[in-house]
């Protein structure tokens, strides 16, 4: 299996020089770090718009799109079906369709948004699994490793994939910076945004595109199923530490980048361990640390404060000669 060609036994960890002198390791490291930074930064707006779950819908619904893109490429155009850009286009189309479907059902019927999202997610994902089996059962050229779309395979990142990730990621980050003011206002106060004459549909489309990009950018390395963690976990952790939006976006990008880089390093040096899941666990550790240790919102500090307040109250009541 090509996936485990770099599998190591014996040593528990490797030194950094050895790590970075290996081309595959470098690609894994930089590829996942770029994904972490981009998804972390863009995920902050998804978090604030309370669209964390919609990114899960997009992630699962991107599977049939990526597979249809593969089929189109192979059957109709006769080109390489695993091209990263092609894959992204396919994923964006079905991911968007699924999210629009869920929103439309929730807006026009009495069915709640969580139900609508669950129906949309499972239907599109089911369709994706069906296509996956169909491709596996037929002799399409270049179909090897296509099941990696589900859970990713960081070792398969090529230099061209890295370039595409950087380009697409930079495009999405540029969109976010150029429309920073519009994104912020629409997220915080959609009514004022409309009142001041900003077209909701334009901003929503732009914001939605950035969120979709944040998810599909990681399909090859991490896979669609786990990508949502890259979009959701870093901003949730970052929110614990900062009270400004620029601070939150920057910190979320840093958490995403560090978590991914560290996760990639760990997964390789530990040997036969898949990269995506390790990164998800590292991101979760950052999240947990943030919940426990952040200065203003730490659950530990909050609990201690309550204990102290209760003791102080008891002392006061005793001093007043009453039974607490």
């Amino acid at each position: 299996m090509p996936k485990r060609s770099w599998q190591r036994r014996g040593k528990a960890a490797m030194d950094l020089i050895e790590f970075f002198s290996n081309h595959v390791f470098r690609m894994v490291f930089f590829g996942t770090t770029v994904i972490g930074i981009v998804s972390g930064a863009l995920g902050a707006f998804a978090y604030l718009r309370k669209q964390s779950l919609i990114s899960d819908v997009i992630g699962h619904a991107a599977l049939p799109g990526a597979l249809l893109a593969f089929l189109m490429a192979v059957v109709v155009f006769g080109i390489n079906g695993r091209n990263m850009l092609l894959l992204i286009v396919g994923a964006v189309v079905t991911g968007t369709l699924a999210a629009l479907f869920a929103n439309a059902v929730a807006a026009r019927t009495k069915i709640a948004i969580d139900t609508a999202m669950a129906i949309s997610l499972t239907t599109f994902f089911g369709l994706g699994m069906l296509l996956l089996r169909m491709i596996a059962n037929n002799p399409y050229p270049g179909k090897g490793g296509i099941q990696d779309y589900l859970f990713g395979n960081a070792a398969s990142i090529t230099r061209a994939d890295l370039t595409t990730s950087v380009a697409v990621g930079a495009l999405a980050l540029t969109l976010m910076i150029v429309f920073w003011k519009e994104f912020t206002l629409r997220t915080f106060d959609p009514v004022l945004s409309t009142m001041l004459g900003f077209r909701a549909r334009v901003i929503d489309t732009l914001m939605f595109s950035t969120i979709v990009i944040a998810i599909v950018i990681g399909v090859k390395a991490v896979g669609f199923v786990l990508m949502v963690a890259f979009v959701v976990t870093p901003p949730a952790a970052a929110r614990q530490w900062t009270n400004t939006l620029p601070g939150m976006v920057a910190l979320s990008a840093v958490f995403g980048g560090i978590g991914s880089g560290l996760g990639a390093y760990l997964s390789i040096s530990l040997g036969n361990v898949p990269t995506g899941p390790v990164i998800v666990l590292v991101l979760f550790s950052i999240f947990l640390m943030s919940l426990l240790a952040s200065p203003k919102r730490s659950i530990v500090v909050t609990a201690l404060r309550r204990v102290r307040a209760r003791k102080a109250l008891r002392r006061e009541l005793m001093a007043e000669g009453r039974n607490p």
Partner: protein, 248 residues
Amino acid sequence: MTPIACECRDLSVAYREDPVLRRVNFCVPTGSVMGIVGPNGAGKSTLIKAMLGLVTPLAGTSEFFGKPLDDVRNRVGYMPQSASVDWDFPTTVIDLAVMGTYGELGWFRRPGKAERARAMAALEQTGMQAYASRQIGELSGGQRQRAFLARALVQVPDLYFMDEPFQGIDAKSQQAMIDVLKDLSAQGKTIVIVHHHLGSVLDFCDHVTLLNKSIIASGPGEETFTKDNIRIAYEASDGAEAFLAEAG
């Protein structure tokens, strides 16, 4: 004849099948402070929202300074009922006030020093300058409303719509806001204010509209805010009876 700041003609609104407003004709003379009064569910907020296009009416048209809203957006400010935003949003009071300049900045342009200075001046007007760098979630209800009023002031509109600005706020904040309203009125601005406390309507409104799904009466306060009209609007509800009994 006084010029008209805003008016709507034959405005009807329904949420799903329930009619909320029926053929409302409503007009506000320039420079007046118009209070919109009526029982719960009378459609007071809906009237404002429908005029501003935030709710799609079934029928009817609205004009502001004789023009459709899109032509005069910068002249119209709106202060929604509180609690309509996420108070845990990572933004400070000064950043909130700066948002009032976004309309005139338009697409792409970013707020700079001048915009921040204006926002700070507006915060001073509402007595909120000391809280400029606070996260909005750390404010009390009254402080939140004053911060939102500052944001509306930054926009420098000629016409203000305010939806229940005094709901659930402390006496100090209420007084600070009434002072600002009187100031605005003295400058010749027009203010439309949804208010539910009958006893204090005439304290700061010179015009009153009594609404209950349709207009009961609308015009100068002393002509419209009469016992008979209040009784019709409130359909003899307890709150109104108590008020009328007190008023003698």
